[in-house]
Symmetry: D2
C-alpha cells in the first residue's frame, strides 16, 4: 500500500482529492495537512468522515510525513514557495509550475517554472516525480484540440465552468447573489489558462471563460478551421482511453453525464454554414479537471493502475 499526504485539505480540490483516496485500493491517505483545520478531527468539515481518518495536521507536518506522494492543493504562490521533499512524487494542482517559458511563467505566475513536468496523461504524460497538474479549462481545451495540433494553427475556445472552479474562498463573484440565475464572462481574452493551452498546442489561442450558475462541471466549445478528419483524429487519440469518450455522431456532451466523475466527453460537429469544425468537451472541473487527473498522474508515477480510485461512472439521473 503506497501512502499519500494532502497539503491543503480544506478547499474544494483538497476535499475531492481526499474523496478519491478514500476509494483508492492501493493509496492510503496518511496525513491531511490544513493550517486552518489543524488539530481538529477529519470529520470537522464533514460529519461522515469521523473516526475513519487521522486528524488534520499543519501543512508543514503533512509535507514531512514521509508519504510516497504529496498532493499540493495550494494557491500558486504557496505552491511555488513549497520545497518538495527528496524522493516523494509531488503533484501540484495549482498553476505555479505549468508554464515552461520563463518569461510567460514570470508574467502569469511571478516566478520561474523550475523542473516540473506537465502531466495530462492521455496526451502529454509527465516524466519524473515533480508533476504540474493541468488547469481545468486547459484540460478540456487540450482534450478537444490536442489531437488536432498538427492540422490546425489557431482556435477560438469559448468555455463555461461551474462555480467550484473559483474555489471556496469568499469573494463577491462567488457570492450566491451574484451567481444564481446569472451568467457572465470574465477575464475576457486575458485568462492564465490561455498561455497554458497555447504552450501545449504550439500556437496561441483565443480563450474566453464564463461562469455558469451550477456547482460542478465545465464545457468548452472549440472552433477550428481545417480540412482534416477531425472525428477520425479524435477517435484514434482516445480509442483505448477509459476516461475520455468520443460521442457518436449527433450526440452532444452534457454536464450532467460527467458531473462527479473523472471522465470527459467529446462531441464533434461541422458547421452547416461555414464548414468550421466544432469540438465540444465536457468534464467535471474538480474531477478530470483537477483532483481526478491528479490521482491519475500519481497512479502513473507510482506504477499503480491508472484509474485506481477514480470515478469512471457518475450518477445517471
Amino acid at each position: 500500500m503506497a501512502t499519500a499526504a494532502i497539503i491543503g485539505t480544506a478547499g474544494y480540490v483538497g476535499q475531492e482529492t481526499l474523496d478519491r483516496l478514500l476509494a483508492h485500493p492501493s493509496l492510503e491517505p496518511i496525513a491531511l495537512g490544513s493550517d486552518s483545520l489543524a488539530g481538529r478531527p477529519a470529520g470537522a468539515p464533514d460529519p461522515r468522515l469521523n473516526g475513519s481518518l487521522p486528524p488534520f495536521v499543519p501543512k508543514a507536518e503533512a509535507a514531512a510525513s514521509g508519504a510516497d506522494v504529496l498532493f499540493l492543493c495550494l494557491d500558486h504562490a504557496e505552491a511555488i514557495a513549497f520545497s518538495p521533499p527528496a524522493d516523494a512524487v509531488v503533484v501540484d494542482l495549482s498553476g505555479g509550475h505549468r508554464l515552461v517559458d520563463p518569461a510567460q511563467a514570470e508574467a502569469w505566475y511571478g516566478a520561474a517554472p523550475g523542473a516540473w513536468s506537465y502531466g495530462l496523461p492521455e496526451l502529454y504524460p509527465a516524466h519524473g516525480r515533480l508533476i504540474a497538474n493541468p488547469g481545468c479549462y486547459a484540460t478540456a481545451a487540450l482534450l478537444a484540440l490536442g489531437p488536432l495540433a498538427g492540422v490546425v494553427d489557431g482556435a477560438v475556445i469559448d468555455a463555461k465552468s461551474g462555480m467550484t472552479g473559483a474555489g471556496k474562498s469568499l469573494k463577491a463573484s462567488s457570492h450566491a447573489g451574484f451567481v444564481l440565475e446569472n451568467f457572465s464572462p470574465y477575464a475576457v481574452g486575458a485568462h492564465r489558462h490561455a498561455p497554458e493551452i497555447g504552450q501545449q498546442l504550439g500556437f496561441p489561442v483565443c480563450f474566453v471563460p464564463h461562469l455558469l450558475p451550477v456547482r460542478r462541471g465545465l464545457l468548452a466549445t472549440c472552433y477550428v478551421t481545417t480540412d482534416a478528419d477531425v472525428r477520425g483524429l479524435l477517435e484514434a487519440a482516445y480509442a483505448t482511453s477509459e476516461l475520455v469518450r468520443v460521442l457518436p455522431e449527433g450526440v452532444t456532451p452534457e454536464l450532467s453525464r460527467v458531473q462527479s466523475t473523472d471522465t470527459a466527453e467529446l462531441g464533434v460537429f461541422t458547421d452547416g454554414a461555414t464548414g468550421t469544425a466544432i469540438v465540444i468537451c465536457a468534464l467535471d472541473n474538480l474531477g478530470k479537471g483537477a483532483a481526478g487527473q491528479a490521482v491519475q498522474n500519481a497512479n502513473l508515477a507510482l506504477g499503480l493502475d491508472e484509474t485506481a480510485g477514480l470515478r469512471l461512472a457518475g450518477v445517471t439521473v
Copy 2:
C-alpha cells in the same frame, strides 16, 4: 388610444407582450386570443390579472377584433398560415416571415416568405405594416455584429440562452430534471437563427447555441478578425439608443442586469494572445429578444413613442 390584440396569449411570449401592454400609456389590449384559454377570465393563468382585462377569446375572434395592431405569438407554421386583416399592423414574433430568400425560407420554415419586413429598429427598421420580429439569438448577434458588417466577413457566435427561449410546451429538453444543474449545446452548427443572422450581415456565420439553467436571459459571445475600431463603430451605432448600452472598457455584460428588461448590453474586448475582437451581447430573450422588441416595432409602426410600455430598467438585485 391605439388598440392591440394578442393572437396566442398562453405562452411565454404572449404573456410578456401582455405585460408590456398593461404598462403601455397609449396602446390598449382589447382582445386576448387563446384557443386553450378561450372563455376563461384573464386571471386564469395569473390571479393578479382578475378583473382588469377582458376574458380570453378564440384566436380567430381576437384576429377579427379590429385592433390597430396584432401580435402573432404563434409557432411559425401557424404564423405562416395566418391571413393578416387589411389595414392592421401585424407583428409576427415567430420565425415564419424572417428569411427573404425563397430557398432558405423553404428549407428552414417550409414556406415562401411573403411581403414582410424584418424589424430590428436600431439597425434594420421595418417598413410597411407587416413586420417580422427578429429571433432572440439573432437580435443579440446582430446588435453585436451589425455595425461591423462592413469591416468583417465572418464570425463565430457562441450563444447561451435561458430556458424560456424554448417555450412553454412540454418536451424532454425543457423538463427541470434535464435543465437544472446542467448545461448543454444543441442544434450545433444547424440552428435556424444562423441563416437569419447571415442574411442581415451579408455573410455566413458559425453559430452554436447552448441551454443555460436559468429562467431568462441570453448572452452571445462573438469572435471576429478585423483591424477596425470595433468599440468606436459600436459606440457610434448606439450613441442615441435608449435600449442598447455599450459598456465602458473592462466591464463585462451580465444576465442579471438585463433580465426582465427590454435593454441590451454590449462589452467590447481584444484577445491578448491573438488580437481577435470579442463582442459580447447580453439581453433578455423574452424582452429585447422577443416581446419588448415586438412592442418597440409596433410603437414605431403606429407612430407612438418608441419605448412606450418597454422596461428600461430592471431589478438591481
Copy 3:
C-alpha cells in the same frame, strides 16, 4: 416633492430602496450614503444609473442632508447607534428597534428599544416619525397569522427564504458552493424573528427558517389549531389591500408570482387528516419583506399615496 436619503446604499436593501425611489412620483432621492462607495458616481455598482443621480457620499453626510425621510439600511448595531435628526421621518430597516420589551431587546439586539413604533401597515400601522420596519420572515408570518390572533394561541411557522435575505456580505453560508443545489435549515428554534412575531401576536411561536437556492422570495407555511373561519378572517383583513391577496380556494402561493414585487399572496387550506388550519404566505424578502414595506411606511408617514413607488405587478413569466 418630498426628499429622501438612504443611509447605507451598497447592500441589497439599500439598492432595492433606491430602485423604488427611482420609480416614485413624489419622493426624490437627494443623498445616497455609503462609506464604501463615497465619492464614486451612482453608476459605480450599476452602469445603468450613471448620470441620473448624485454621487455617493459618506453616511454621516447623507444623514445630515436635510431630507424629509431617512432610510436606515444598516446592520442593527449601527442602526441602534444612529442619532436620528430632529423632524425627519426615519425608517429603520434593521431589527434594532423592533422589540419593545427591554429584556428581549437586550437579549436579541444588545440594547434598549427606544421610542420607535413598529410599522406593518395592513395590521400594525406605525405612529410617530421613528418607524421600525418589520423583518422579512416576521412580515410573512404576521400577514398569515395576525388576523387570527384572537382565535389561536400558538403556531408552527416553517419558513423558507431566498439567499438575498442573508445580505451581501461574504460568508460561507452565502457562498454559491454552499447555496446551489442545496437546502438547509438554520438558527433552528433560535432565530430573532421569533420574538418579533410573538410580540405582535401576543403568544410565543415555534419558528424554523430554511435557506432556499433562489435569489429572491420567501414562503412561510403556518400551522394553527382553531375552529374559527380562517379564510373569512383573512379575507376580511385584506379586503381593501392593494398589496396582500388572499388566493381563491385551492390556489397555492408561489414565489414566482411575488418575486420583484411589493405584494404578498396568502393561501388557506385545511389538513384532511387532522383538521389543522394551514396558511401559507409568499412575498419577496426584499420587497414587502424589506424595501417595499419601508417605502410604504414612509409614504404613510409623509401623507403620500400608500403605494407610490411600489411594485404592484411583477413579471408574469
Copy 4:
C-alpha cells in the same frame, strides 16, 4: 450471484436502481424491461452503458426472465395490475401496495392492498417475498418520527423535495420554467404519503409537501410536542445503522451531504420559545427515498449483505 430484473427502466427510479445494481457485488441485472426502449441497446439513454449490459426488452419479457428479484419501477396502477411470478422476490417502488387498510387503499390508490409487506428496514422490516417499498416523503418522516411513536400522538411534517421526486414524465409542474427560481407547496393537506405515514406511526399527521428548485434531495422538518428524550430515542434507534446518522447537537442536516447517497441525516432541536421538539431528516429522494431502499430491501430478502450496492458516501463538494 443472484439475479435481478427491472420492470420499467426508463424513469428516474428505474435508472437509479440500475445504477446500484451496476455497483452490486452479488446481484446481477439480467433483464432491463422498458416498453419504450425495448430493442434498443442499454446505452440508448446513456452512452456510458454501451456494451456492458443486455439490450432493453419489453416489460413482460423482463418479468418472465426468471430473475431472483424483480424491481417494479412502475406507476401505482401498473404495479397493482402486475402479477408477481411465484418464488421471485418482488419490490414494488410505487405506492400501490403500501396502505393496508382496505378503505384507505381504495381511496388513495383505487384498489385493495393485497398480501404485501411494508419494508423500511431500520424500523419496519419486511417479511415475505412481496415488499412494498416506502414513499420518499414517508421514509423521511418515519425515520424522524418512528422512534417517537410511543411518546407523541401527533405531528406537523413540513417537507421539501427536489423535482426528480415528481418523475420524468412531462407535466407543467416539472417544466423548468415553473421549477427554476421558484418554490411552491402542492397537494396541501391532501397528499397520499400522509396516510402512509399515519399508518406506520399509529396516529394521523398534518403533512405539507413543497417543490424545491433542485434536482435531488428531500428534507422534512417535523414538529412534535413531548417531554420525552427525543435525541436519546433517536440515537438508540439508529445506533448500529450504517445508513442513518443522528447528527451531533447543533449540526443541521443539509441536502448536499446526502445527495446521490443512500444515507439519511437526522438533526434534533428544541424550540427556544415553545419547547416544541424539532426533528429534521434529510435524504436523497431517489436514494434512501426510493432505489437505495429498494435494493436494501432486496438484499435483506435474498440474504445478502444489507448495504451491498448502496452508496454510503456521497460527493463531499
